[in-house]
Structure formats: C-alpha cells, structure tokens
Amino acid sequence: MGKYSDDPAWADVTPLPTDEGGPNPLAAIAYSEEYEETMSYLRAAMAANEFSPRVLDLTEDLIDMNPAHYTVWLYRAHCLFAINSDLKEELDWLNETALQHQKNYQIWHHRMLILDKLDSCEGEGEFVERMFEKDAKNYHVWSYRQWLVKRFALWENGELEFTEKLIEKDVRNNSAWNHRWYVINGREGEGVRGITDPRIREREVDFAEVAVAKAPQNQSPWSYLRGIARKGGMPLSSLKDFVSQYASLEQPDEVRSSHALDMMAEILAEEDNGKQQAGAALDMLAQKYDPIRKNYWEYRKGMLGLPSAAA
C-alpha cells in the first residue's frame, strides 16, 4: 500500500493518522497519500521518542515534500545528535537542499546546529557566498553569516573585504552595509573597539563618502555615516563640508540628495544661531525635495523650538 506500511523494517510501528478535528475542518489540506503516510509514521516515532537511522530517513522524506516543516527539522537534529550520526554527511545533504530552498529559515537554523557540533566551518564562507549570488539580501543567510563570524571568530579572516566586495557589486545592498557594521563593531562587548577607535572611524567615514559619491540618493551610506556619528562619538558637524557638496542652502536648486539635505538640517540645528537655517532646510524637504514626508519634516521643524512655529 505504501512505502512504510509495506516495509518490514517498519512493521513494528503502528502509524498515527492525521486527526482532522472533525468532519468539517477549515482549510484542510488534501494530503497526498505519500505525505499522509510519512507524517503518520513520524507522529508514531515521535510519540515513542524513537531516535534511529530509519527515523533519519523518514525525516529526509518529509523535508523533501515540505521543507518548511519546522517540527521535522528539530526532530531530525535531535536524532542526529542522539545516534551520533555522521555530520559531514549531513552537511553534504544540506548543501543540495539549501540551494533548492534558500528562503527557508529552518534549513539555516539546522545548519547552525550542525556546524556548532562539528566545530569546524571549513568551506562555509564560500558556500554562503554562493547563496548570495541568488539573493544578496536574504535575511536568514545574513543572520547565519553573522553567527558564523562570531562562532568561529572570523572577524579578521577577510570578512571586511567580503562586505567591500558585495557593496562594490551593489552599493545599495543595505544588508551588506549592516554586515560591515557588525564586523567592525561586533566585538565591543569583548573590548575590541570599532568605530570608537579614531583610525577605524576615519577609514569608515572615507568608505561611506566614496559610496555616496557613486549614488548620492542611496540611503545606505548616509545611515552608516549617521550611525558612526551617533555611536562613534563624532560630531555630525565634521561632515558639513562633505554634505554641502550634495545639499547646501546657498544653492537651493542644486540639491543632489534628500538625505544630504536632511543631514544638513541636523548639522545646522546644532550650530549656534543655526536653527533658522535648519528650519529652511526642512522646509525645502517638505515643499520640494521630499514632499511625501511633509508631515515628518514639519514635525522635525517643530522640534527645533523656533520662536514662531508658523512657516
């Protein structure tokens, strides 16, 4: 009748069929016979707390049919460790599966569990890089990459160069910018200084400024600069000359980036007697350069506490 019910190796197991909860379940799935049977045997195996090579095969079958099945993944991991299965072999199998199901969260969590146990990340960087060829902003893959860097202390193993390469490929890849921030600042808790170190800060400001020049309306390097100012103890005013190349009140028709104008408003607001000018920059944003955020720019103007709120 079925793969498992016909298999003498499973003859000792009584499958537990799906309980639909009654005759009229909502959004009931008309499972294929194969899926229904395999799930029934998994339920039985889990009920008996069975960890065995045959359960591993069973979970592989299910993952092929439904890779988003978190229960199967978690049980598989449990099983692998319980029977001391060959984890290198597991990794080979995962590599094939990952290429097919890149957006699946479970697969990355599973991979993390395996590598942690293996205590080796050989070839892993290259593998992850290949994943980025399909989607360079995949959230799970980036989060996995962060874990790798931390778990195997890869901070100085070409990771910074890696972010540089991806940012070079697409300067608007904000995920790569975030990773760069992480690589530089991720060890502050362990006392390794990131952008609070003046030399690093200077290098990163340069890096972001070059990126801005390539595409001034790309928000990623602007946020990066703002982050450096906020977390690195650098006054925004030190960026004034740079920012004024892209937005200046003296040339109100030549603004090349709304993000520059935004930053200029913030710089001006910090200056003595600069609030009036800051208000003028915010007006330019509200009226001409970024009208969709009119309410926000007016809110910011309200925060300046100018004597007369009326524009």
Binding site: M46, M65, N178, G227, Y296
Partner: protein, 500 residues
C-alpha cells in the same frame, strides 16, 4: 495549471512561504488550483485598462506624484537594487496617477472603491478544502485561520459562525504540554500559537485553550537573556517576544515563570525579566529594529518590538525607556516610498503592501510614545503620510476581477497574508488610535497597558483630504493585538479573574 512552478522558484508557493522574514508569508491564491488559467493569469482579472473609459480630466496629483518630484534624484549608477526599483515604479505609476484605473468603480475623488465584498469572498475561499500542493503550508495553517478571521473582521464581516468549526479544527493542534503546533503532531511554536489564539479570540472561542499548560509551555521558551525562542530548540527572535507576551496578556496567565522554566536557573522569576533590555538590543545603528541583536533593521520586527513594549507598559513609558525614539521615528518615516506611497520593509528594498500594517501599525504606537503631542506637525498630529498609503493600497494592491483579494504589488498575486495586512494597514491609515493613561485599573498580576486604547473614525475633512468615501472605511484594528477592538475587550473580560 500546477500551483507550484518549479522552474520559477521566486514565484513558487514554497519559496514565498519560507520567507519568514515577514513573520511568515503565505501565498494562498487557492482558487487558481481549481480554475484553468493561462500562464500569465490573464483571464478575467488581467487588469487591462478599460478601453472605452473617457480619457480623464487632468487631475491634480498630490505633490509626491507630480512630475517635478518624480524627476528628482535619478542616480546614474545601475545596480540590481535600482533595476528592481525602477521596474516597480513603472508598474505602479499608471495606477497611482489614475491613468489606468482598470475596471474598478471609482469613489467621489476618482480613486477606486475598496472592493470589500470581493476581498471578503477571497478570504472565505481560503478556508475551503485545499489541494495537495498546499502540503508545503502544513506547518503554517494557523496563520491561514488568523489572516482570514482577522481580515474578514476588519472588513466588517461577522466571523462568529466559524466558531465551532475553528475550535474543532485547532483541537488536534493543541499539545498536552501546552501551546499549538502548525498541525496535528507538530511541536508547539510561538507563531502558530499566536495565530491560533488570535483566530480563536476573533470567533469567541478562547475557552478551548488549556491555559495552565500554555503557561508552562511559554515558560519553556523564555530565555535567560530575556528574549523568547520560537519553539523549544528553535531560533530566538523578536517575533517570539511579541507573540509570547500577546498570548500571556490576552489569556491573563501569571507573569511569574512556572517552577519548571529553565530560565529560573539563571535567576529569572518573571516573563518580563530582562525583556525590555533584550528588545532594546535589537535596535540597530540605522535606528530601526532587527529580528535579533545585530541583524538588519526590518519593518516587521519594528512592529513586534513596539507592540511588545506596549504590552509591558504605556508606550510613552516603555518605548523611550528601551529605544532611541528620534532615531526610530526617522527610520520609520524613511520607509514610506516615493512615488509609490506604501512602505518598504528595509532600506533600499521594494514597497510591499504587508508593511502597510507592519510599518503603518508602528505609527499608532510610536506617536503615542511621544512626550508632547503639540510638537507633532503643524496641521495635525501625524508624522506620516496617510493619504499616500491609502492611495497605494487602493490603486495598486487590489486584485481586479471577480476573485478579489489584495497583493504585495501589481505584479504579484493576492494571498490571505497580504489581504489581511493590507486591510489592517488601511485601518491604521483611515482611523485614529489613542492611548488613554490609566483607563484600565491594573488588576492582580496582569499587564493592562495594552487594554488602554481607544479608536475613532476620521473627520469629514480628513476623509476629503485622504480621498476616502464613508462606505470604504474599514473597522478599527487594535494597535497591539491586531484584532477588532471589541474582541480584545471581550478577552480582557473573559479572563479577568485570572487563575486556572
């Protein structure tokens, strides 16, 4: 036509399903599987402009859609990101500027009406028997229950008739050790439990939940660093924190950790211990919030963070306590895209209707956290652009044709997830939500802050400004629990006594 096109993974059901970055996305154009359509889905719902339509009186476009604004800032450098963005702007602009209103009937202001009945029947159709291709959502079925029950309620439909059926359907999903799994025999999971509990609340069926077992199970996912895992042995992220605190609060479970909770060994005694601090660690250098510390800032996680903090205390207390508010406000404001008017989930990503809720919903919470409302915009109390979001949802995200449903953007298909969160987003945009200090006296051990919200409809003047007809208003959506207001109040009263 098979639902899953293996040759096109981006479009296939399982690929979309697995994109859990947005909690969990789920494609659900179920009736496709029953109907024969050609490859492009070009049957009755292709959205071809109606040829006989009189060429439009030149309408005055809002400032962000005027040619001069659209012409600003076109950096020459072409990258993957800019190409994708250009494509989306091109598919949205004709709809936004009303050059192409398809076959929609128009409201007083020339924008399409909300296709309420079609969207409702689209959602109802998701609850029918699903073909075998849906096996890949076997672990996410609770979401389908939530999106349909919530979406239908927000559209003004009565869902109480589903009560008995829903209770029966989710009974096998409830585990003896507490919580709900994605299906029968599946491990309890924060997302599945959140979705099931909310769906049950929507139909008035919360009594079937084993509250004591739930309390024990939640104790098993609380982590010693303050956060929550999605399931025992699974990932720790901010969805877990929001989902767990929502379940705990709606069901009025004790805040005290159960005696067998593993985090007790690390000195924790309450579900709230270290939680606000953990949420605070998720704020990134960009100002937005990530799914876990050091990850990239993301709109769905911003909502989870703000809603979680708004359960812990009044937004004006808990949000500034753990987050840099000006940085977050700036980040949220920047997520509204020009010219589309909807929200993107991350910096330099594309507009998508589901963020109408994830980011749109943040405004209710963060505006309530600002110390002094008088500093809000000159002519109102908003920091964001409601009219732009309404226009995006109404013109770009409604699927034409008899099947209805709402979609991420014009080039995608509708599904229950985007339908639910588009309608919720519409509600954030159309209605006002206010936090009232000390409205609810705090009761024994229960966090009551989230029960202090009231809602009110827009004024006539606002409806004119946002181009909304009265008949297109949707129901109030609770800013924290994303349920109808009355449903939240009923849950509060039902478990007022606490205990087991």
């Amino acid at each position: 036509m098979p639902l899953i096109k293996k040759e096109d993974p981006e479009d296939s059901l399982d690929e979309r399903l697995q994109n859990q970055a947005r909690i969990e996305e789920l494609v659900s154009d179920g009736d496709d599987a029953f109907e024969d359509e050609d490859e492009n889905g070009a049957s009755d719902d292709s959205g071809i402009p109606f040829p006989g339509k009189p060429s439009k009186r030149q309408r005055k476009m809002p400032p962000w859609l005027q040619q001069a604004t659209i012409n600003l800032f076109h950096d020459e450098l072409v990258t993957t990101t800019s190409e994708a963005q250009q494509k989306v702007t091109a598919e949205c602009l004709p709809l936004l500027t009303e050059e192409d209103t398809g076959i929609f009937s128009l409201n007083t202001y020339g924008l399409p009406h909300l296709r309420r009945d079609q969207h409702a029947s689209f959602l109802r159709a998701q609850l029918e028997r699903l073909p075998a291709q849906y096996q890949v959502i076997d672990a996410s079925r609770p979401w389908l229950f939530y999106w349909t029950m919530a979406g239908l309620s927000f559209l003004g439909q009565d869902v109480s008739s589903y009560r008995d059926q829903l209770i029966a359907t989710v009974s096998p999903l409830q585990n003896p050790g507490g919580g709900f799994g994605g299906g029968h025999g599946q491990l309890s999971h924060c997302a599945g439990t959140y979705a099931t509990v909310l769906a049950l609340a929507a139909v008035g069926g919360l009594r079937m939940v084993d509250r004591k077992a739930m309390w024990h199970w939640l104790g098993s996912v609380k982590q010693s660093d303050g956060g929550f895992c999605m399931a025992v042995g699974a990932e720790e992220d901010i969805r877990g924190a929001y989902c767990a605190m929502t379940i705990l609060t709606l069901l009025n479970l004790p805040l005290e950790l159960p005696p067998d909770a593993p985090s007790r060994k690390h000195g924790l005694t309450s579900f709230t211990d270290k939680l606000g601090e953990w949420v605070g660690k998720c704020q990134t250098y960009e100002g937005g919030i990530a799914g876990a510390p050091t990850n990239e800032a993301h709109g769905a996680y911003a909502f989870c963070a703000l809603a979680c903090l708004s359960i812990l205390d009044a937004p004006a207390v808990s949000i500034p306590k753990y987050l840099d508010v000006p940085a977050l406000v700036a980040w949220l404001a920047a997520r509204q895209t020009t010219p589309e008017g909807g929200f993107q989930g991350r910096q330099e990503k594309l507009v998508d209707a589901c963020y109408s809720h994830w980011v749109g919903g943040c405004w209710d919470l963060i505006q309530a956290a600002l110390p002094d409302n008088s500093t809000l915009g000159e002519d109102g109390k908003d920091i964001w652009n409601r009219a732009a979001l309404i226009r995006y949802l109404i013109t770009c995200c409604q699927q034409p044709g008899k099947k209805g449903g709402m979609r991420d953007k014009p080039s995608t298909r509708p599904d229950a997830y985007h339908t639910c969160y588009s309608v919720a987003g519409l509600s954030h945009a159309q209605n006002h939500y206010r936090y009232n200090n000390n409205n609810q006296p705090s009761s024994e051990g229960r966090l009551t802050a989230a029960f202090n919200w009231t809602a009110s409809p827009p004024t006539e003047a606002e409806m004119r400004e946002w181009k909304v007809d009265k008949e297109d208003l949707v129901e109030f959506v609770h800013p924290v629990f994303v349920l109808p207001m009355g449903v939240v109040e009923a849950a509060r009263r039902e478990f007022e006594q606490g205990g087991f």
